[in-house]
Symmetry: none
């Protein structure tokens, strides 16, 4: 286990601060100075780690997106049965969105606005391939509807983001029971 260099700690602090401030105030109301203060460094220091504000947000996005993907495929293996594999992935994603609320909320904000430039977005997109592969296999086996993967995503994964938003705003409280029900709905919508 390697101890992160002092500088890596600062970089993480900056990323954490950015997520929190952008979540609470939006990109437009998050000055670099505040990020610096919250991260406990001086304003100039940010520019040792990131080229500029855009680069900072891009890197945060990529970092969080890839943490998300790692989380999504925890305990999943390529050889699994389609339904079993899907369930694992779905639950992972739900767990991420409900446990790592800050990160999840940040992602959904970026995904729905022009904050992230195209380069950053492309980077973030790469990661869901194993799920797409699983769906393809499911379609071959006649288990999954023959629609585009975007559509499958829209009806089975994307809804989780909404549930998270509502829970975040206190409109909804999610527990094991709810989540199982939600999973059923996801599976029902994509299964043949």
């Amino acid at each position: 286990m390697n101890i992160p260099a002092k500088s890596e700690i600062k970089r993480k602090d900056l990323i954490r601060a950015t997520i929190q401030l952008v979540n609470n105030n939006g990109f437009h109301a998050t000055p670099m100075s505040k990020i610096a203060k919250m991260a406990g460094v001086s304003a100039g220091t940010i520019y040792l780690y990131f080229e500029n504000k855009q680069d900072l947000v891009n890197q945060v996005y990529i970092e969080v997106k890839s943490a998300f993907t790692r989380y999504a495929f925890k305990n999943y293996e390529e050889g699994m049965e389609v339904e079993e594999g899907f369930k694992i992935i779905w639950k992972n994603i739900a767990e991420f969105k409900l446990q790592e609320v800050e990160e999840a909320f940040f992602l959904s904000q970026c995904d729905n606005s022009p904050i992230i430039d195209e380069a950053g977005r492309q980077e973030g997109l790469k990661h869901l391939q194993p799920l797409l592969d699983l769906w393809k296999k499911g379609q071959k086996q006649g288990l999954i509807k023959e629609v585009s993967p975007y559509t499958l995503y829209a009806f089975s994964i994307y809804p989780i983001a909404f549930l998270m938003n509502m829970q975040q705003r206190g409109s909804l409280r999610l527990n094991a029971h709810n989540i199982d029900a939600a999973y059923e709905m996801a599976w029902n919508s994509i299964k043949k």
Copy 2:
């Protein structure tokens, strides 16, 4: 038929300009001066119609949200059968999101970020009541799953936003066939 006052025209122009600029550049990169220029009025004029920038965006949000709701319940009547009613509403919403892309994109950006303050958000929320009522009726009749309306919304309506985003980015092209398939998925996920 009432002819809009000259000033009402300007107000609409400002709203249209705001939508377009915020869609393309994000709230943070949309200065009042650009909005004014695109609307063909002077910078100062905005303040005759709106208190300040926040008020402008709030009002745009409310306006668009209520246009959306009006659209959603076109041809719908309270007495309809649950499935029929749901289909009408769902298709309306889909049509809105795929025809009125600018408005729809603006809404999804606002709904996923702290651009809109809480007051504006509450205003926008009121409007889906007839759908909620329909669902409640469906649940009483044993047609609709016994989950919270947020969950029903997450799995049946919210996915449309994702499809729209993908179409907007050119990743997906939607036609009557696709849309029917999507509707099936929506209904499958909420029906008992």
Copy 3:
């Protein structure tokens, strides 16, 4: 005679302030805020008149350079005898450099450093054509040495800048007598 618009006054004030401050402190030690203060406007106002700092300095340069050229050809006419014409131009230039010290000093600072970008420099260069024409005529008549116009300029006009610098620093005091002597030297160096 036309009264300058209020805004034209401000523009001139900004130009004057820039000249003075750059003369005294150099480009690098002349912040926009000081220029604004000296011109009696707010910092942001500069950007109504000039795109950015580089543009400001460029425009000042062009403006001063063209005032200089106008001055240089006062009372000069194309048809004049070569020596008479040269004397008039030379004396004009000397007068400018010794009367309009601020402007002259500013020009010499710009001409000897990379402050002005190439675009601005090209603009400023256009203006001495009548002198070059006169020299060409003089060469045809066998009155002026057959060397490049740059060389003629170097030995007859450029020295005035040095005299001005020295007077500016108090090392030298120029009067009518001195100036006549200097003119003789200029003419001696270029005449055949």
Copy 4:
């Protein structure tokens, strides 16, 4: 022959880097960090050799100015005839300005702007004494015009800087022939 200490090498590297960067970008666009990088040392190291940025530039100026003076009086001896001596010095200076372009350009930039503070400037001025002495002798012998040494300098030495600038910008190409012609003009302007 003494081998320069390692540290003396670094000092020279820093001076060289400063000259080049100030020539190309101007003082105002030459950060210490760039100087350090070009000299191949770390930013902090500069401060082991120079007190601060101003001190660095001052010392560079003095160093270059004194190299210039050494060059100027190569092969010159006090007892020489006035015209012979002047010719030697003039050609030396011309050679310096045309060979050691970087150094010469740096000097002319400093001499025409407030980059160098008064202290540095005084230091640099001392060095031309032998030329002034020569001129005084020439004036006593009735060979040189009875004008101030500044004026003599302006018309005979200063023009070389202009020629150098023009050559530097590609407007002019100087060869042995040109230079002889220029020397004639210099001598013509100061001789009685």
